[in-house]
């Protein structure tokens, strides 16, 4: 029997049923989400040292047996990732340069610099969009090439995680397709090498047997996957993937690198001891972050001091902290960090002053006084800055006075780990490219175009600087760099350089016939040691002239070669020494310099702010008086920076710091004149003020006396 319910009742039942279903779904969803936010991984949570005796797993999650005939390298993702949230870690600052899923670009840092001395290329690269740098995807450099070039001083991941996934689709945005197709493709051997794994041990090692130099060398040898295993000293390797030909399918497995694990490192149960620290040691950071004065390379290293914080016993990660997400505290005020309150006191200002003196910093300008008063962490002393006008805090960052090499009329040449491969055992002179100099005081946003330098937030900060050099395409008031490897392939016959363009391109040696022409029939066979001064001069001037001619000819011919693959309306240029050289019109192979309007920002130097080494207060800029900066010859404004060029004999750009700062020198000179006799003025002014006070006080006492006298007279 069926009951014929009224339609209204049935509709109500339907609505009720639907409501209950939706509530159930939402409820279950909420429960599952709540369950998901719980701790996923077991943790030790001890301040003590958690001892890591662990099993090793390869990339296929197979436990490694060191006694196997062909054991695979261990995979940090599969080994460390069993107990740590690897997905969360690999999007931290050090690994997220390419995708930038979590990290923001923030204040410009040191770019990756593509350094190819054969073609005279010093190309600043960054995926982060920092001004003055070029995106490797846009230049046409594959992620694999970037990984090989820079991976030795990166902790893995980043470009190495996505070696090819985007390089094909990332058609050079700033280059048209015709041009891109006419150039040979940047090397991409990911199918052979695999991706570059994140190596936790590069940072979290406690010392011991991990060797970061081996990490760098294994990446150079293209043994990406093997690098963590070999650098950890768990195994030795024979062979290199760099010797494997492009077509890997035809490669004999015997040609692949062979690992031999150190059996002594394995316990009978197959576990290995990893000497791991939660807070990386300074040595780990310094493998990639060492900055050294070039003079220190020679004999003066003992005379150079460490950062004052290091001398006080601190470590890098005391300030440059991170959580599991590996979002690093970069240490500058205003960093856009997921947890701004937690990092508020981890900048110079936050730690030493306990808050923001300037309201320019949105993150620090908090009304929460509790946070403002939290300076002095780790025993940071509070600087008094006695007598320093507060205006300085609106014009300068802390680092302007306290960090980097002391300002000098000629900035100091510097070497850095990433750009000069410090930490790799090789001979150095200190003059290796790229030529980086510091300190140059520039408003923090004065990058290449000076676009925001007039804003109040643009604080003077010490910068490192280098002059880019590259082969490119000039069009519409700009220059786009060409892919460096393609440039090498196209120009190697015309440049005729084996190793170093700057050394070889102008190299001229007079042949016997030339000597005969210069020295005459009688003297041309005489040994060089027996030449007269006049003959030496004659030979030298000939060499100079020929060298200049050779440089012009070879560069012009190389530009011709590049021009052949360029579409109509685009011109090949070579940028170096702050100038863009192009082929002159006509048959004679001469070079001419493109105007600044034609070349645009490409010829400007690349700069990035520096933070270390911090000097003690007594060595701060201005510690000896105002005139350290407020004088006409102050290095702050008058430092001269000479561009470094790959082309010998060419006149390079030379700029003064105030030109880059776009400072009003007329006003500065007037200002400086006020400081010329400041001490005498103080005596004079205090004298005047003292006399004035006496006059006014005597008037006051007189007035009071008269008033009292008048009152007395009135009452009597």
């Amino acid at each position: 029997m069926t009951v014929d319910w009224p339609p209204q009742f049935r509709r109500s039942c339907f609505i009720l049923r639907s409501f209950i279903m939706i509530a159930l779904i939402v409820g279950l969803g909420a429960v599952s989400i709540a369950a998901d936010t719980g701790p996923k991984y077991a943790r030790a949570d001890t301040d003590g040292h958690y001892v890591h005796w662990i099993e090793l797993y390869d990339a296929n999650s197979t436990k490694i047996n060191p006694a196997d005939a062909n054991p695979r390298p261990y995979s940090s993702r599969k080994t460390c990732g069993r107990c740590h949230d690897f997905e969360k870690i690999v999007h931290g600052w050090h690994f997220d340069a390419v995708e930038q899923l979590k990290s923001e670009s923030g204040r410009p840092g040191q770019p990756w610099v593509w350094n190819d001395p054969r073609t005279g290329t010093i190309l600043p690269l960054s995926y982060r969009g920092w001004t003055g740098t070029y995106n490797p995807d846009a230049v046409g450099i594959s992620r694999w090439s970037v990984t090989k070039q820079f991976g030795g001083f990166l902790p893995g991941g980043g470009p190495g995680s996505f070696a090819t996934s985007k390089s094909d689709e990332a058609s050079p945005a700033e280059m048209d397709k015709t041009l891109a197709s006419s150039l040979s493709k940047s090397p991409d051997r990911e199918t052979i090498t695999g991706s570059l794994p994140v190596d936790c041990m590069l940072c979290h090692r406690s010392g011991g047997e991990y060797n970061p130099e081996i990490w760098s060398k294994q990446i150079e040898a293209e043994n990406f996957e093997y690098a963590p295993t070999v650098a950890s000293g768990l195994a030795v390797i024979e062979g290199s993937l760099s010797r494997v030909r492009e077509n890997a399918s035809e490669t004999d497995p015997d040609d692949l690198p062979k690992l031999t694990y150190d059996m002594n490192r394995f316990r009978p149960d197959g576990k290995v001891f990893f000497d791991i620290v939660r807070k990386p040691h300074n040595a780990s950071c310094n493998h990639c972050h060492t900055n050294l004065a070039a003079q220190a390379i020679d004999t003066q290293r003992w005379a150079h001091d460490d950062d004052i914080h290091m001398r006080a016993g601190m470590s890098c990660v005391d300030c440059h902290r991170n959580g599991l997400d590996h979002e690093m505290v970069r240490g500058y005020p205003g960093q856009n960090h997921p947890q701004p309150k937690l990092i508020a006191t981890l900048s110079c200002q936050g730690c030493h002053l306990g808050g923001s003196l300037n309201s320019h910093d949105a993150n620090l300008a908090m009304s929460d006084n509790a946070w403002r008063s939290m300076g002095g962490r780790m025993g940071a002393p509070k600087p008094l800055h006695r007598g320093l006008p507060p205006l300085h805090f609106e014009k300068l960052t802390c680092t302007a006075c306290h960090s980097g090499p002391l300002a000098d009329m000629t900035p100091v040449r510097q070497l850095t780990s990433q750009l000069h491969h410090l930490g790799v055992h090789e001979q150095r002179t200190g003059n290796e490219a790229p030529a980086i100099v510091a300190p140059i005081m520039l408003p923090i946003r004065t990058i290449a175009s000076h676009e925001d330098s007039d804003k109040p937030q643009a604080l003077y900060t010490p910068h490192r600087m280098m002059w880019p050099a590259f082969w490119g395409v000039m069009h519409d008031g700009r220059i786009d760099p060409l892919e460096p490897e393609s440039v090498y392939q196209l120009t190697r016959k015309t440049l005729k350089v084996k190793k170093d363009l700057s050394e070889e391109i102008g190299e001229v040696k007079p042949a016997l016939s030339d000597r005969k022409r210069i020295l005459g029939d009688d003297r041309y066979k005489v040994k060089e040691e027996e030449w007269t001064p006049a003959e030496v001069d004659a030979i030298d001037s000939w060499i100079e002239e020929q060298s200049r001619f050779q440089v012009d000819t070879r560069i012009a011919e190389s530009l011709d070669e590049l021009q052949k693959v360029l579409p109509e309306g685009k011109q090949a240029v070579y940028v170096t020494g702050g100038k863009a050289y192009r082929r002159s019109v006509g048959e004679d192979k001469k070079l001419e310099i493109a105007s600044s309007a034609e070349a645009g920002k490409a010829i400007e130097p690349t700069v990035w702010p520096l933070g270390h080494n911090v000097r003690p207060a007594r060595m701060a800029l201005g510690a000896s008086g105002c005139v350290e900066c407020h004088s006409d010859g102050s290095p702050f404004f008058a430092t001269r920076i000479d561009a470094v060029s790959f082309l010998p004999g060419k006149e390079n750009v030379s700029v003064m710091a105030h030109e880059l700062q776009q400072a009003d020198m007329n006003r500065l000179k007037q200002w400086n004149s006020l400081f010329a006799s400041r001490a005498a003025f103080k005596y004079f002014a205090f004298g005047c003020l003292g006399l004035t006070t006496l006059v006014v006080l005597s008037g006051l006492t007189n007035a009071i006396g008269n008033r009292l006298g008048a009152n007395r007279r009135r009452s009597s």
Binding site: P456, L689, T692
Partner: protein
């Protein structure tokens, strides 16, 4: 001093203070001028010596220039920097010396009815309108604070917070000086016109 700092922190913008003070002084002067012009009061016309008047003119010019370079800059550009700051500091050097001359020429001794040198008779200033005398006192004391605060700041005595507070004292004293001088100028003008 901390009170002022807290006040500034809570949003009391100095540019608003400048505008309000300027309006208050101007309105006060205007109201009195209207009242005096239409009232039948006609009193003695005050005249100082020409030296005293010249010193007053120089002093007033300097104060106007200092006001323009400081408050004018703050009101127009939001901050005091570049040429305005440079000019302000250069003029301030002259101000310290002129202040001494001004304090002697317009000596409070004369304000206090004591006829000291006979150049300016006690009748002319000592018996002047109370507004003239009191505003002149304000000008002198504010000038001392204005100059003193910045001179002390040139010595390595105060730390950063102290420097901030001394800067604030300098600003407010400067505002009092500018306002007092406006009133003083009006008071003397009123007496010259015989309104008082």
């Amino acid at each position: 001093m901390n009170f002022i700092a807290r006040l500034m922190e809570k949003g009391l913008q100095f540019d608003n203070v400048i505008v309000c003070t300027g309006i208050a002084v101007a309105v006060g002067i205007l109201l009195h001028a209207v009242y005096a012009a239409f009232s039948s009061q006609r009193k003695s016309r005050i005249r100082g010596s020409w030296i005293a008047r010249l010193v007053y003119l120089v002093f007033a010019t300097l104060v106007v220039a200092l006001t323009a370079t400081s408050f004018g800059s703050i009101l127009t550009a939001g901050v005091m920097e570049h040429w305005a700051l440079l000019a302000h500091i250069a003029i301030a050097g002259a101000f310290v010396f002129v202040l001494l001359v001004f304090s002697i020429a317009w000596s409070p001794l004369k304000l206090s009815n004591a006829n000291v040198d006979g150049q300016v008779s006690a009748d002319t200033i000592g018996n002047a309108w109370w507004l003239s005398r009191w505003s002149l006192w304000c000008v002198l004391w504010a000038s001392l604070v204005v100059a003193g605060s910045m001179l002390v700041a040139m010595l390595p005595i105060f730390d950063t917070i102290g420097m901030h507070e001394i800067t604030m004292i300098h600003r407010y004293a400067g505002l009092v000086l500018a306002g007092s001088l406006m009133v003083n100028l009006y008071a003397f003008a009123a007496q010259r016109l015989g309104w008082r």
